[in-house]
């Protein structure tokens, strides 16, 4: 049924820390690896070793350059590079769900995860049109819509060791930039992280009410220039003197 549930028992989702993400793309690789081998159709690649490779990904990392405005205190502020992982935000008011004509797209009442039932999907693509974030991709080989499942086949999977019962991207991130938990519970670790760090919604004006939150990068440190090696590295003699000076000048003239 593609009407949205009035409320969900929990709001499972991700908190992505733009301050710590180093842009290594490890989450992209682990997401593709896990999800191509497990739930649903594999994530195909087209022309993977050729001149024009493309493929289906549920998680992609963009990089942005942010140029702060100049102020009198900071006339030449340095631009900041921000790495920006993006996967489905499991929106509370998910427009991708309500547009689906077949009922293939749905939002779960128990945990708020937005999923696609691939055996019902006709591959019309309308849900990807409706998602403002580009979180859904049609698989070119399978003709069905693929999206982040919040690793639903890991997080409740009793066959995995307990520390692995988190999304593959969260488990793999070497910088600890992705956090997983219940954002509906104000006392959960992720909710407290969001409160402490001023977690934000992407495109709030689109009215999707994303569950996933992004933690903004902290302001850049402004260190006083303390360069302990500087005195040792200063050139000892600018101009050679004496015999060397004469040689230098003579050779210069030749």
């Amino acid at each position: 049924m593609t009407t949205l549930p009035a409320s969900t028992n929990r709001k499972m989702g991700l908190v992505i820390d733009l301050d710590t993400c180093v842009g290594c793309h490890a989450c992209v690789v682990s997401c593709k690896g896990w999800n191509t081998e497990n739930y649903g159709a594999p994530l195909s690649d087209q022309d993977p070793y050729g001149a024009d490779p493309t493929g289906t990904f549920l998680n992609r990392v963009h990089s942005y350059e942010v140029q702060p405005l100049a102020t009198s205190a900071m006339p030449h502020p340095a631009a900041q590079l921000v790495h920006f992982p993006k996967s489905c935000l499991h929106c509370e008011d998910a427009p991708c769900v309500t547009v689906c004509p077949t009922g293939a797209s749905y939002k779960r009442v128990e945990d708020g995860i937005v999923l696609v039932n691939e055996t019902d999907c006709i591959g019309c693509g309308l849900c990807a049109w409706a998602c403002p974030y580009g979180a859904r991709e049609m698989d070119a080989a399978e003709g069905v819509m693929k999206k982040c499942t919040l690793c639903v086949d890991r997080i409740y999977n009793d066959n995995l060791p307990e520390e692995d019962r988190v999304p593959a991207c969260v488990r793999t991130c070497p910088a600890g930039a992705r956090h997983f938990g219940d954002l509906g519970d104000p006392d959960s670790d992720v909710s407290r992280l969001v409160a402490d760090r001023g977690g934000m919604d992407l495109m709030p004006e689109q009215g999707t009410k994303p569950v996933n939150k992004y933690l903004p990068p902290r302001p850049r440190d402004t260190l006083d220039e303390v360069d302990i090696l500087a005195p040792l590295l200063a050139p000892v003699a600018e101009e050679p003197k004496g015999f060397l000076g004469w040689l230098d000048r003579t050779l210069e003239r030749l």
């Binding site: 009407t3 733009l18 590079l81 974030y133 990068p217």
Partner: protein, 290 residues
């Protein structure tokens, strides 16, 4: 948005086809027998042909029947239900006219309403999308309905009605373009809100996620040919509205009327190409594009 030929063909042809069914349902022209058969054949070829074309772009056409199930929430599902209902009701009504020379006026009226409802549901598939600001306006259903009624009247040979409706539709087309050109800026969605980084400073896309293309870029970030938009708009206006109006104003001849209809359909196809090619999806912002 990527202007898929199948979707352009579908919305253009079926729009005119359902428009023709609307007028036939009202008994305009009041035809029976073989003449009615000819009119209905044209209408069904356009309406049903367009519907078939639209299933070509599905990943799994064999499951298309499942799309009838979600009419409570989905405009695409409603379109499926409305179109089949319209075709069935108008089929019975048409059989009455063709085979029994009887006009079941009530049934025709219902069929006409369903035909219009189909066009409305089609337009709402686009008008509902907040992610495409150019489309999200009540002007979109207004334009689709006006074009369908005008095209239908042209095909139904309702000369004066067609002329009036062509003027209205042309006007709506102009208004739709004018509003659309400022819609993205007015939507409030930009790089700053997309990334949430606007509070720090000016945001610029530095590196895309992959060096190659992807589904999102192919489907939503279609920028090829936008530079010809101004010329294509003039072509669409000339073929779709001006030329048919001139041809209809001439003393009536079947050749002129046929030419007017063809020219109108060609113009609408150009306008539909622009409808997609010019529509900027907000996801383009993540790629520093529109």
């Amino acid at each position: 948005m990527h202007p898929a030929p199948s979707v352009i063909a579908f919305t253009t042809l079926s729009g005119a086809g359902f428009g023709l069914l609307f007028w036939l349902g009202l008994g305009l022209p009041d035809v029976t027998g073989w003449v009615a058969f000819a009119f209905f054949a044209v209408a069904y070829a356009l309406a049903a042909g367009g519907l078939m074309a639209s299933t070509f772009h599905l990943g799994h056409p064999e499951r298309a029947w499942k799309a009838f199930s979600q009419w409570r929430s989905s405009w695409l599902s409603r379109e499926g239900v409305a179109s089949v209902a319209a075709l069935v009701v108008m089929g019975v009504y048409g059989a009455g006219l063709v085979l029994f020379d009887t006009r079941l006026a009530l049934l025709g009226g219902a069929g006409a309403a369903l035909a219009l409802a189909t066009v409305f549901t089609t337009s709402m598939i686009y008008a509902q999308l907040r992610s495409v600001p150019r489309w999200q306006t009540p002007l979109t259903p207004a334009l689709f309905l006006a074009l369908s009624l005008a095209g239908g009247a042209l095909l139904a040979g309702q000369i004066t009605t067609a002329m009036a409706l062509l003027l209205v539709a042309g006007l709506l087309q102009g208004m739709w373009w004018k509003r659309g050109d400022g819609a993205f800026a007015a939507s409030g969605t930009d790089m700053a809100t997309a990334t949430g980084l606007g509070g720090i400073g000016q945001v610029r896309a530095f590196a895309p996620p992959h060096t190659g293309g992807n589904y999102l870029l192919r489907e939503f970030v279609f920028v090829v040919g936008r530079k010809h938009a101004a010329k294509l708009r003039i072509i669409a206006l000339a073929l779709g509205f001006a030329l048919p109006l001139v041809l209809l104003a001439l003393p009536f001849s079947h050749a002129a009327a046929a030419l007017a209809a063809l020219s109108h359909l060609a113009g609408i196809a150009v306008s539909r190409w622009l409808f997609f090619a010019e529509a900027e999806h907000v996801v383009g912002l993540y790629y520093g594009a529109r």
